[in-house]
Symmetry: C2
Subunit: 411 residues, 2 copies
């Protein structure tokens, strides 16, 4: 069987390399059905690359080639990626993609086309690069109801937070270093504002709960407001600030999903995940907690996941109901402010005594925090557990106190 | 399709429960092919259990029932488990087992029978319970050469070591508590001598390197010789003692495999794995390092893995070459003493000055260690890196020094 790769960027090149170099061992894994690289589509000139012999600028040469059974999409974006994937599926070819935006936005339509044409649609590389998180949700934990998950899904922001925690640098300095090392784009918004983590959370939540969860319905906060003061208060209570994507199935069947910074105690394994690494903790009703950890990005790690999906499509070319989710259900997500949790709050008091006694009166189980060299009028505390909406209203209503920073506490 | 369960012990009962309770959701995951519990085999009287309607004491009722497509083996041991599994495969039924001894000892014959009869043979639950380590090796990392792995594969010994580390109890006291909590058997030899970890290492190494690695060829040391002195020296250098199963593909294609205690620095995520939890770190040529963590035993976690394999057999009933390994190759394993590594050594000197200067002269890069309240004649040190055989010879040859404890250092 031949595979075509659309988009010879970082990941696409990695996939072409694996399919070419490992041709023999991969074919052996498919009971001898040979897998070869049939076509590489790119509008750029690839005549100087190792794939020049199979290079094309014309999608028609892929979709009309009956020998091509699997189409790999590593172009990014939704146009023309979506149209090309749909047409490939409609032409009876399985599609493998590493494009999280495509899956998060167009997953329903792509699954429908794959089901109708009885071909595969797989996207393991779209979340956590080489770590097999998607296939673990669909297959490894197939006997479980997934009750919740929580993960460090974006390596760039984890690199920045790790710098801030370990070297006490500012957010701005850490971001600059991430850009210098090539971890962050020149326009870093998609990472630091949480958009990337939000798309991954949407895909994971859809896989976990079996119904399409649109990314735009997931409340998302990035890490741009995190300060070294917050990092330091968290350290004082044996915790770290991490950007988490998480979702939970509630007892009434509704779903809670959120992307935001969170204060994670060091007793959680996930708090030890440093630098550009990713980790996902999944809680299943039968398996309990499992954690998957590794490189969440990078050419080879991501290409490893894409190729594993290609092999699945070669071995099992039909549509696989287990690896799919149903269409969106109106009203399935609860408003994030309805969730019961604890908040970390840091702010400044115009009158410390009044503010502190207000905090003690207002929040049942409030814990005041300390840090060295804090300005006299700085106050930081944990609230007790209550609905987020009520907690925020109560914080605003505190006398002689203005909050500068509010971060959720991961329990 | 009907599944039969052989052995209504802890895991078997868990599988029966999942197949019964979750019948609807599991069938949905198999595109509507219904999966029901057809038979439960046990020589014990099950007439008072929820499976009384399908209980049988006769294997013939399973092997001769054409409606039974998958046979689950959760009996343990190799006889009659092996014979029953072979006959099931020969009768054209897929076999799923949680029995690590069976897979480690009889894997070659079972794969051959499965291949010949074009049915499945799967055993994800045999290693690390509910954590999907086997399917990750075979499928998730299919695009990789696995270069090495290292894991905490036995929860009982990890519980004992965690107790010794965190509560400074002796080995004997920690073992007693493990027995009281039901983590360790009354005869704890299989756990504490490393036999259980060895079988799991043999299975993982066979899956990782694609060739049967016999458990009896893997050098195995348990944790019975670990003392609180050693725990304390390790803590002094920011490390923990863990029982690791590990294997490595060397540049010449040979394989190194070993089960033994190891000193693991706290900078490694695996050092934070506490209590009865398991974790496996896998290094692939493309994916880099990934780590999988979770409950390595327990009825529901193990049953979760068994059921996931049953679903695979229902979806893809034929033999899957990807999920298999080749027969044993003579001479593939190197003698463990040929490996280059560093050793931790603790012992007693008849003349401290002579012993210390001997250590300094003998071991390039030796590091002397300290602990509070150590007897004056106690010496502990790390050797530099060299072949284990040479290191051990040199330790024996030290003047005025007798080693009491030697532990490998995990780099």
């Amino acid at each position: 069987m031949k595979a075509a790769v659309m988009g010879y960027g970082t990941v696409g090149r990695g996939v072409c390399e694996i399919l070419t170099e490992k041709n023999g061992s991969l074919s052996a894994k498919c009971a001898g059905r040979e897998i070869t690289l049939g076509r590489v589509l790119d509008i750029r000139d690839l005549s100087d690359t190792p794939v020049k012999a199979v290079w094309t600028t014309q999608f028609e040469e892929i979709v009309n080639d009956p020998e091509i059974g699997v189409v790999v999409e590593t172009m990014g974006g939704t146009h023309p990626a979506f149209e090309f994937c749909m047409r490939s599926l409609q032409a009876g070819k399985s599609v493998v993609t590493s494009n999280k935006q495509l899956v998060a936005e167009k997953g329903e339509a792509l699954f429908a086309a794959a089901r109708e044409n009885n071909v595969g649609f797989r996207f393991g590389a779209a979340v956590c690069g080489g770590i097999p998180v998607i296939r673990t949700m669909f297959y490894g934990l197939a006997a479980n109801e997934i009750l919740s998950f929580s993960g460090i899904l974006n390596g760039t922001t984890n690199f920045i937070l790790t710098k801030m925690i370990k070297e006490k640098t500012s957010f701005a300095a850490a971001l600059r270093e991430a850009q210098e090392k090539g971890y962050a784009e020149r326009d870093p918004a998609a990472d630091i504002e949480g958009t990337d983590a939000c798309r991954k959370t949407a895909i994971l939540a859809s896989a976990a709960f079996g119904t399409h969860i649109p990314a735009e319905e997931i409340h998302t906060e990035g890490i741009t407001a995190i300060t070294s003061e917050d990092v330091s208060y968290a350290a004082g209570v044996g915790s770290k600030i991490k950007l988490l994507g998480r979702a939970k199935r509630l007892e009434n069947g509704k779903i809670y999903a959120l992307v935001s910074p969170a204060i994670v105690p060091d007793t959680e394994l996930i708090s030890g995940v440093e630098g550009v690494y990713n980790a996902l903790c999944i809680h299943g009703d039968k398996v309990g907690d499992i954690l998957l950890y590794g490189q969440g990005a990078g050419r080879e790690a991501t290409a490893s996941a894409v190729t594993a999906d290609v092999l699945d499509c070669v071995r099992n070319p039909g549509f696989d109901e287990t690896y799919s989710w149903k269409n969106r259900e109106e009203g399935r997500l609860i408003p994030y402010e309805d969730m019961t949790l604890r908040l970390y709050v840091r702010g400044y008091a115009s009158d410390v005594k009044t503010a502190v006694s207000g905090i003690r009166e207002t929040f049942d189980g409030a814990v005041l925090l300390e840090r060295e060299n804090a300005p006299e009028n700085e106050i930081a505390f944990f609230t007790g557990a209550a609905k987020e909406r009520d907690l925020r209203e109560n914080i605003s209503a505190l006398r002689c106190f203005a909050a500068a920073s509010v971060i959720r506490v991961e329990e």
